[in-house]
């Protein structure tokens, strides 16, 4: 399902539909994360990547040029030429993977003691938090510098 959403996001000629597809990819990914016992990451992915980032893209698209009908038709032709072989390649890869036997038997290690995410984040990865703060400040200053009005 995730692959289908990604393929649709890539292949659709309209930008707004691509952004909606991106949000759908984030929702599916957050469901996968919930299934993989990562609820905090899933909540972050759902709220930020499925909510905030599509809003940023919609805002950016709304301020840029509207695509004309001729350009849309041209883009559909280009996408068809670029991705016409993709389903065939995916089908061949799926058949090869189903028919071939694995060479190496993957032995997964036993699970260690489950730790609290908050403890890992605040105690073990506190430098990551410092880095996040610095990056957020840098991003905010960058946006201010980009949209600063110059005196004429």
């Amino acid at each position: 399902m995730l692959l289908m959403a990604i393929v649709w996001t890539v292949m659709t000629p309209r930008l707004l539909r691509s952004v909606v597809g991106l949000a759908a990819v984030s929702v599916i990914l957050s469901m996968i994360m919930f299934y993989m016992d990562s609820p905090l990451a899933a909540v972050f992915e759902l709220s930020v990547c499925a909510g905030l980032i599509p809003v940023i893209f919609f805002t950016t698209i709304s301020f840029t040029q509207r695509v004309g009908q001729e350009e849309l038709i041209e883009r559909k032709k280009i996408i068809f030429r670029q991705y016409v072989y993709l389903p065939i390649i995916l089908a061949v890869v799926a058949v090869v993977m189903l028919l071939s036997k694995p060479v190496v038997d993957f032995v997964f290690p036993t699970a260690p003691v489950v730790q609290d995410v908050r403890k890992v984040l605040w105690d073990d990865r506190h430098l990551d938090l410092l880095g996040q703060i610095i990056i957020i400040l840098a991003g905010a200053l960058g946006i201010v510098a980009l949209f600063k009005e110059t005196k004429k």
Binding site: S18, M33, F44, E45, I56, Q115, V120, R125, I143
Partner: protein
């Protein structure tokens, strides 16, 4: 999609790449049983992703304001 000439499509392609990396980190955490560390890394990655997208979106808007286009092919052909 990253190879597209449209700058916004390039950003969407970059977003998909980051999501795939996020999925692999979570998968590695699930396989090894160390989900706490994987989640901490994913939270860091998401914060960086948001900041990068915001700054990139601002850059695209500035490029559009000065050049009236977001097609990278047309930007390369400009002089100066």
């Amino acid at each position: 999609m990253v190879m597209s000439f449209n700058l916004i499509r390039t950003l969407i392609g970059l977003e998909i790449l980051i999501k795939v990396a996020t999925l692999f980190i979570v998968l590695a955490g699930h396989v090894t049983g160390n989900t706490a560390l994987a989640q901490a890394l994913v939270v860091t990655l998401i914060v960086i992703e948001v900041v990068v997208m915001v700054v990139a979106g601002g850059l695209v808007l500035c490029i559009y304001r000065s050049n009236r286009t977001i097609n990278a092919n047309e930007l390369v052909n400009r002089k100066g």
